[in-house]
Structure formats: C-alpha cells, structure tokens
C-alpha cells in the first residue's frame, strides 16, 4: 500500500464518523493544550521573577552578617541578628579590585507618624552610594547626601508607597515626619520601582546611616552591605577577594558573614519555579493520558464494527501488515490533528492569560515540539493494540462475523 492510499483510507474512515472522531480528538486537544499552557505560565513566571531580581541590580553582591545555614536557604538566615559587620569593614571592601561602589545599610522597622497618618515600615540608614548600587531614581527633591551623614542630620527620603500612605493628598516634600519620636524633614521622594515583592525600596524610608546608627537604633553594626561590581563576569572573583579580605580583617578562620550574589537568589527561585512548572505539567499530562485511552477505546470499537470489512480486505489479498498499518494510521492521524489543534488552543490560552496581565506567559518552542512528539507517540502506543488485533483477525471468522 502506498502512503497516498493509506491517507485516503484514513480520511474516509475518520470522516464517516465525524462526531466520534471529533470527540475522541477532543481528549488529546485538551491534554496538549493544558500542557502547553501550564508550561508557558511556568516559564512566564520564571522570566518575570528573573527580570525583577535583575532589576534590583544584576551585578550586586550582598554581604550579610552571620552564616547562611546550608539547606535552610537565604530567606531564613535571620538577617541582622548577628552583629559581625562593622563600619570599619566598609573601607576594606571599597579597596578591593573590581568593586565599583559599596552601600552599607542598617534597617529596622519603626512606627512612623506624619500629620494625622500612621504607618509601620522599614527605616533604612544609607549613604549616597545606595542610589547607584540599587538602580533607583529620585522623583522629587534629593537623596541623602554625604553632608547629611557627617552632620547626623534629620533628613528622610520616602519610597513611593510610603509617600502616598503618609501624605495621601499633599506634596510630602519639606514636611516633617516623626520616627521613634524624632522629627525628620522629607527631602526627597523616589520613583516607584515595582516588581520585587520583598524588601523593595517602594516601601521604605531612607535616613542617613549615621543618624540611624547613633539615634534610632543606637548600635554601630551594619544590617548588610550591598556591593556593586564593575564587571558582571568578575562576580565570582570579587566574591572570593571580599571573603578573604573580611576574614583577614575580622581575624578569624571561618567566615562570620555571608556573601550572596544575584545568581544564588535566582538559582534558588528558579529551582522552586521549575518544580512548580513540572508539577503543573504533570497534572496536565494526566489529561493527555486519559485522551490516549479514549483513542484506544474508539479504535477498539472501530475494529469490532469493521470486522467484516477487515475480512473482505484480507480475502482480496491484504496482508496482516496492510491491515495493521491502516488502523495504526487512523490512530496516529487522530492524535496528530488533535495535537495540532491542542497546540493552537494552548497558545491561545497562554495568550489570554498574558492579556489579563497576571503573568507574561512564554510558549517555548521546545514545549510545542515535545507536545507534538508526545501526541504522535500516544497515537502509536494506544493505536498499536487495536491495530494488532485487527491484523490478527482470521479472514474466515471475520467474513462470517455479524
């Protein structure tokens, strides 16, 4: 049998039972579409988290006091609890080759009061380098200056969210806020940065580092140091140099601080999201499996219905192989068309998800290719048994079958 003959036979038998073929195909369509949509949502979430972490400063090393315990990750490190980073360490890090800027920070949560409004937020003591290191922009006014730091000044810069919380309908610039019963003058407001959900600058108030240490918290250690590196490719090198320099400075054998790069954070989150995506795809593939069983069910019915026809074909000279191929082609054609429609539907679904603005989904070429391969594979796997049964029929019994 030539391929064109097989195609013709397949077309005519599938089109005789359009509704049944369509419903059977629907199982595969839904399976493939949900796999593609789920994977695209997972990929989209990954990409959006990656970009918001990179938005924090992609060439950033973060030095925090205390040791990150293996297995517990950076999130639960109890940051700020250890008191091993001192002001003296800033100058040590600054002199290291490849370091562009260092931003030492001390943060703590305090109650903040403005005229009539009240909020509890993170107060961060900073130096002017914070702007460069963290890629933030001033919307109005100015940032904390070196002079503010020298004078232990009472100046504050508000993040975008805090600004609207405390001063819903007036310009905060030049107004006075009270942090821990100390009056501060608002000298600047930041542009909203959005994105990063945790410890973003939008929800912070910035004060001079010296004021934070001497007046608000009353302690001289640092919560963290953010280090921006000149060349992104030298991150690992700078990390090693910094570790050695600080170990030497602290005069200890094992580090009492941790240095975390963006890659470490990304790596952890990517692992989490990959697991999540895999989980979604696994659930979706169950529907694909059910679809495959639907194909097998339909093919078995077809073989029984067409027993007489199979008998006739064998009587006029069809071999076992010819019958096998014919029925296998039907199953594969069903899954092939179903797979194609599923890809279109999955694409459409992820497009709709994107247009709702929740997640910018990404349909990857590999998931499309995989879906197509899987659907053709399902056709072969679930079509094999019915086709084999058809091929094994004895022509005499098949011709007599009523």
């Amino acid at each position: 049998m030539k391929i064109i003959d097989i195609a013709q036979e397949t077309y005519s038998s599938l089109s005789t039972n359009k509704v049944r073929s369509g419903l059977t195909m629907l199982g595969i369509v839904i399976g493939i579409a949900s796999v593609i949509a789920m994977v695209s949502i997972g990929n989209g979430a990954k990409a959006s988290i990656q970009s918001s972490i990179e938005g924090l400063g992609s060439n950033l090393l973060t030095i925090i006091p205390g040791v990150v315990q293996p297995g517990r990750g950076i999130v639960s490190s109890g940051r700020g609890a250890a008191q091993t980073l001192k002001n003296d360490d800033i100058d040590v890090v600054k002199t290291i080759d490849g370091v562009m800027a260092v931003s030492p920070e001390v943060s703590s949560r305090f109650q903040v009061v403005a005229i009539g409004n009240n909020t509890n937020t993170t107060i961060t003591g900073v130096i002017p380098d914070y702007i460069a290191v963290h890629n933030i922009e001033i919307a109005n006014g100015s940032f904390i200056s070196d002079a503010n730091n020298r004078n232990i000044g009472r100046q504050a810069v508000l993040g975008a969210t805090v600004a609207t919380d405390l001063f819903p309908d007036q310009d905060p610039l030049g107004k006075t806020i009270r942090i821990k019963k100390v009056n501060f003058t608002v000298v600047g407001i930041l542009v909203a940065k959005g994105g990063a959900g945790f410890s973003g600058p939008d929800d912070m108030i910035f004060v001079p580092l010296s004021t934070m240490q001497k007046i608000l918290s009353g302690m001289d250690y640092l919560s963290m140091m953010a280090v921006s590196v000149t060349d992104k490719n030298q991150m690992a090198e700078v990390k090693d140099l910094t570790t050695n320099a600080l170990i030497e400075k602290h005069n200890i054998v094992e580090a009492d601080f941790s240095i975390i790069s963006q890659e470490d954070i990304l790596g952890t989150l990517t692992t989490v999201i990959d697991t999540f995506t895999l989980f979604l795809a696994a659930i979706a593939s169950i529907s694909l499996l059910v679809g495959g069983i639907g194909i097998m069910n339909m093919m078995l019915t077809t073989v029984t219905e067409r027993t007489k026809e199979i008998g006739l074909r064998k009587a006029i000279g069809a071999k076992r192989k010819d019958i096998n191929v014919q029925f296998l082609a039907e199953a594969v054609m069903l899954t092939f068309i179903g797979g194609f429609l599923g890809i279109v539907l999955g694409w459409l679904m992820s497009f709709i998800v994107t247009s709702t603005g929740l997640v910018a989904t990404q349909v990857s070429f590999s998931s499309v290719l995989l879906a197509f391969g899987v659907s053709a594979g399902i056709g072969i796997v679930f079509g094999y048994y019915p086709a084999h049964r058809a091929g094994m029929l004895n022509p005499i019994d098949a011709l007599r079958y009523e």
Binding site: M1, K2, D5, S12, T16, K308, E309, G311, L312, R313, K314, A315, I316, G317, A318, K319, R320, K321, D322, P395, I396, L399
Partner: protein, 241 residues
C-alpha cells in the same frame, strides 16, 4: 489447473474431532464453469475456504496453477488470493459509503497498481460485469441488489484472477435478479474464458454450470456434467439493470 488430492479438514472442539471435509479429490480445467452443491453443513463452505486459499487443509494437496497451496503461510496465502482468486460473496461485502469505482479498485490497492492504470482496469471490469457507466461514481449503498452483485463481480474480475469463486452469489437476491447474475457468470465464462466455481445449495442455480460436484457429509458423492444446461435467454428476460 486446479487439482485437489485427498483433501481433509478436521476441526477440534475440546476433545471432539469433527471432519468437515474428508478425502475429497477432483480436478478442474482452465475455462470450466463448475458448481459445488450440497445441503447446509455438508462441508461445501469449508471446501470453498480451502479452494479460496482462505484456509489450509489438515492433510492432502491442493494445486492451483501448478503451485502447491496447501502448505503456505498466512502471508503467502494472502498473495495467492490477491493474484489468482476473485471472490464473490453472498452478502456482497462492498465497502459502505464508498463509490462503486473505489470498491472495484480495492484489490488493485493491495496489488500495487497505481494511478490511471488502476482506474482504467476498474472501469474495464465494471463494463465486463455489465454495470451501466452511469453508476460508476454512485455510492455502494445507493444501488439495487443486482447492481451491487455486479460491482462485486467486477471487483472479483479486476486483478485478472485464474479463478473466480462465488459463494451463494444469488442467496440474497430475488429469483429474477439471481438469473441475471447467473447470466453474467455464463457470459464471463463463455466470452472471456474465466474459470468459475459457484457454491450453492440450489439445484436451479447449479444447473447454469457445465459440471456439478455434489458434496454430502464432507465427501464427494457425485461428479457429473450438466445434461440440460440452463442458458439465460437475454431476449426473454429483457436483461437490463
């Protein structure tokens, strides 16, 4: 041409052995028109399956065109059926919702004959079987019983078989249409020299053939030449379909 020697076919159901055909021998020459007759359960269907290479005998030898068919494998039997035998069934067995032409072309699909040659041969076979050209593109379920059996005869003819094997070809037809179909067989036999074997239990149908083989209880009990052969009078029956 066809040579059957001591053919036996036994079926086993549990411990009970049943001999459907026992020790049958005969030979049929090229261009003969033979009827195999017998009551139901006489073993004539089993004999037909063996003659049609649908089944192998338990013992004995069956030569078709000087080739021993009795010991072939399933796939080799399929080749014999494709190249040497044309079947006409009582239940017609056309593909439903398929055009007449495609039905007749089906054996050529498996014989590996393609394109325009396939269509030409199918048309030629349909004309030989006497079907009007206006019906070639009708669906098989739009035809009358007589027309359907002509399509089935054309399908049996299309690959130029050595033997046309018809199993109760008039069983599902009324007597007039049955006569017409038998007339078609006679015509093919006389004008084209086809070797034809018809299986039937009706004396009247059998008398259209030149020779009748009587089977009873699996044995050949009589082999005789038809004394007064029924000839279809085309004028009298006004043979048009």
């Amino acid at each position: 041409m066809i040579e059957v020697k001591n053919i036996k076919k036994t079926y086993k159901t549990g411990d009970v052995e049943f001999e459907a055909v026992s020790d049958v021998s005969f030979s049929i020459k090229d261009g003969e028109f033979v009827a195999i007759m017998g009551p139901s359960g006489s073993g004539k269907s089993t004999l037909m399956h063996i003659l049609g290479a649908l089944d192998s005998p338990t013992s004995g030898i069956y030569f078709l065109d000087n080739k021993d068919v009795s010991t072939l494998s399933d796939d080799e039997l399929a080749d014999i059926r494709r190249d040497k035998i044309g079947f006409v069934f009582q239940a017609f067995n056309l593909l439903p919702r398929t055009t007449v032409l495609r039905n007749v072309m089906l054996p050529l699909v498996y014989a590996g004959i393609h394109g325009i040659k396939r269509i030409e041969r199918a048309k030629k076979a349909l004309i030989s079987s006497g079907l009007d050209e206006g019906h070639f593109f009708h669906l098989s379920n739009q035809l009358s019983g007589g027309q359907i059996q002509r399509v089935a005869i054309a399908r049996a003819l299309v690959n130029n078989p050595s033997l046309i094997l018809a199993d109760e070809p008039t069983g599902n037809l009324d007597s007039k249409t049955g006569e017409i179909v038998m007339g078609t067989f006679q015509k093919l036999n006389e004008e084209m020299g086809c070797t034809i074997i018809i299986i039937t239990h009706e004396q009247e149908v059998a008398e259209h053939a030149d020779r009748i083989l009587f089977i009873k209880d699996g044995k050949l009990i009589e082999d005789r030449t038809t004394h007064i052969k029924r000839i279809i009078d085309y004028e009298k029956h006004n043979l048009t379909i």
